[in-house]
Amino acid sequence: MKKLAAKLRTMNVANYLATFAVIATMIGASSKCTCIFHDVEKPDLTQFRKF
């Protein structure tokens, strides 16, 4: 467990998480809806648009 915690610390998980969120935000910003039958309330995502 300690080894895993140390590895996670060196991997910088926060950066990977932020990258994942940015990609999802960019997809959401450039589309009408992202999920098949569910719409999450969109904040202002103009700066994340691809157009």
Partner: protein
């Protein structure tokens, strides 16, 4: 999901990777990202058990691409959406290889549904700005062309399961778009 998204955003905020101003965008990203990933993982797992992984991938690509630029019916709760999404995908995969429809009929149904979805999508109340509206319309047409090309390619190649999956996706898109259109019309009537 909202709770998980908030916790993850708080975590990267604490690590000073983002600022407070970006909180809403990152929360949205986490929520939609996790919801989509979960749906893809569950449906692919079921597809693997049914030996229909390629059909599942084709269905998800066609479905997600079209849903991104065509408005359709939505559920209020995430879990009802999740269950409906997974059931729709699994039902399509179950039908491929079992439901016997002539290939010509599948191609014709695909084209008719696609055309109807394009017409219906143009009738939705537009709540986007001009740049977004123009972009979405262009993308919708491009994806429609891509779906037509894919359907013809599958017809020529003779991959029956693939053609069934595309036909089924278009049928679901058609029903979903009609349902949303009906919901909007009903809402307008109630509002006056």
């Amino acid at each position: 999901m909202e709770w998980v998204a908030k916790r993850l955003t708080n975590y990267i905020l604490a690590k000073e990777i983002i600022t407070e101003a970006d909180r809403a965008a990152y929360e949205y990203g986490f929520q939609t990202g996790i919801e989509q990933t979960l749906c893809i993982i569950v449906t692919l797992t079921f597809a693997a058990c049914m030996n229909r992984v390629w059909e599942c991938m084709l269905l998800l690509v066609v479905f997600f691409l079209q849903r991104a630029y065509v408005k359709g019916i939505h559920m209020k709760q995430y879990w009802s959406c999740f269950l409906l999404s997974c059931s729709v995908v699994i039902a399509g995969l179950y039908g491929s290889g079992r439901v016997e429809i002539p290939e010509n009929a599948e191609l014709i149904v695909t084209l008719i549904c696609l055309g109807a979805v394009q017409i219906a999508a143009g009738r939705f109340a537009d709540d986007e700005d001009e740049a977004a509206s123009c972009f979405f319309n262009k993308q919708r047409k491009r994806i429609a062309c891509l779906v037509i090309l894919t359907a013809f390619a599958l017809y020529v190649v003779g991959w029956k399961n693939g053609l069934f999956v595309v036909c089924y996706t278009e049928l679901v898109m058609f029903v979903s778009t009609l349902a949303q259109l009906g919901k909007e019309k009903l809402g307008n009537k109630e509002n006056g």
